[in-house]
Symmetry: C2
Subunit: 197 residues, 2 copies
């Protein structure tokens, strides 16, 4: 079965849209998805940005929020703006999402965190929010946090960021099929076609 | 008849793709198009960029050329890379395109200039290239250059850039329907739907 890797960052707005639709589209296309949480912060820092480019460049930011609203509307996705802050710190959530790969709850957890951020104005950097989300998806919060905070898992997340950099990833969501990159929620369909050859 | 404004910059890669497909899609949708040449240089300068962001950020640039090639492939558009330089200086072409509005040759001229830049590796800042293009589309080059270089036309191009800034435009192609902005070739369909209400 062909596969695409879905690279996402929990602070990223358009990653929310992709997270909510990729399972359906990939299933229809007969393509498997590997969910790859990573962090944009270290990548942006190398580009000279200490904040989201949507904050650094106000015209781009104003446009993004408007476009994001329209896209959510078209996809029928709930949206409540503004989030508690932008960008939210997604490090803890990314560690959890990565730790969930072994037991197979990464996708469910990821969707729930994006909904918490963009549809429910909850603070996704807060342990209590994350514990509540884990409980909602029937995952034991204590065990999940223990796995997430293990040194090997933290290192695995850094390795994931390094791999993203090596692939040339500079934004989220990004899809990879081998070395082939597709950037942006609106490239999901093209990435799926590419994976099918 | 509903209308969209198509804001383009002759140096912009994705503006080539839009220029080649917008007339067909707009006709199918029953939407009129106003072709609005403008310059990104002065807008980028205000963002602190003295070059294309695709040159300033190499990872973004590498990705763009690859994605641009794939998109041209999907659209069946000829492409020969690299162009004689990137970005090419499109000021003269923009003045000509604006001057062509009165006589109605802006769209034909614009398509021919984009083809010269991205499919024929010609220097679109060169008078001889532009004169040859005008001749190809049956426009008298002397008259066209005289109209393009008239003080009022040069001022009209600056006014067009100011209008773009006031609308919040920060890239090309951009589509506007009243105050509503759509950025990027892949937003053309959404802009046409919006125009139809």
């Amino acid at each position: 079965m062909p596969r695409i890797d879905f690279w996402f960052e929990f602070a990223s707005t358009y990653s929310y849209v992709t997270a909510m639709r990729i399972a359906r589209l990939a299933a229809d296309a007969g393509v498997a998805v590997r969910w790859r949480p990573f962090l944009l912060g270290p990548i942006f820092k190398e580009l000279g940005w200490n904040d989201s480019p949507f904050n650094i460049y106000p015209a781009k930011g104003r446009y993004m929020w408007r476009d994001f609203s329209r896209v959510c509307d078209e996809e029928g996705l709930p949206l409540r703006l503004p989030p508690v802050r932008f960008p939210q710190n997604g490090v803890k959530a990314a560690r959890l999402a990565l730790a969930g790969e072994t037991s197979g709850w990464t996708a469910d957890f990821t969707r729930a965190v994006f909904v918490a951020n963009y549809a429910e104005q909850r603070d996704i950097s807060d342990d209590e929010t994350l514990r509540a989300i884990l409980t909602e998806i029937d995952v034991d919060p204590d065990a999940a946090f223990e796995a997430a905070n293990a040194a090997a898992n933290k290192e695995a997340l850094f390795a994931q960021v390094d791999e993203a950099k090596a692939l040339g990833i500079f934004g989220a969501p990004t899809f990879t099929v081998g070395d082939e990159l597709f950037w942006g929620n609106d490239r999901l369909e093209a990435a799926l076609r590419w994976a099918k050859g």
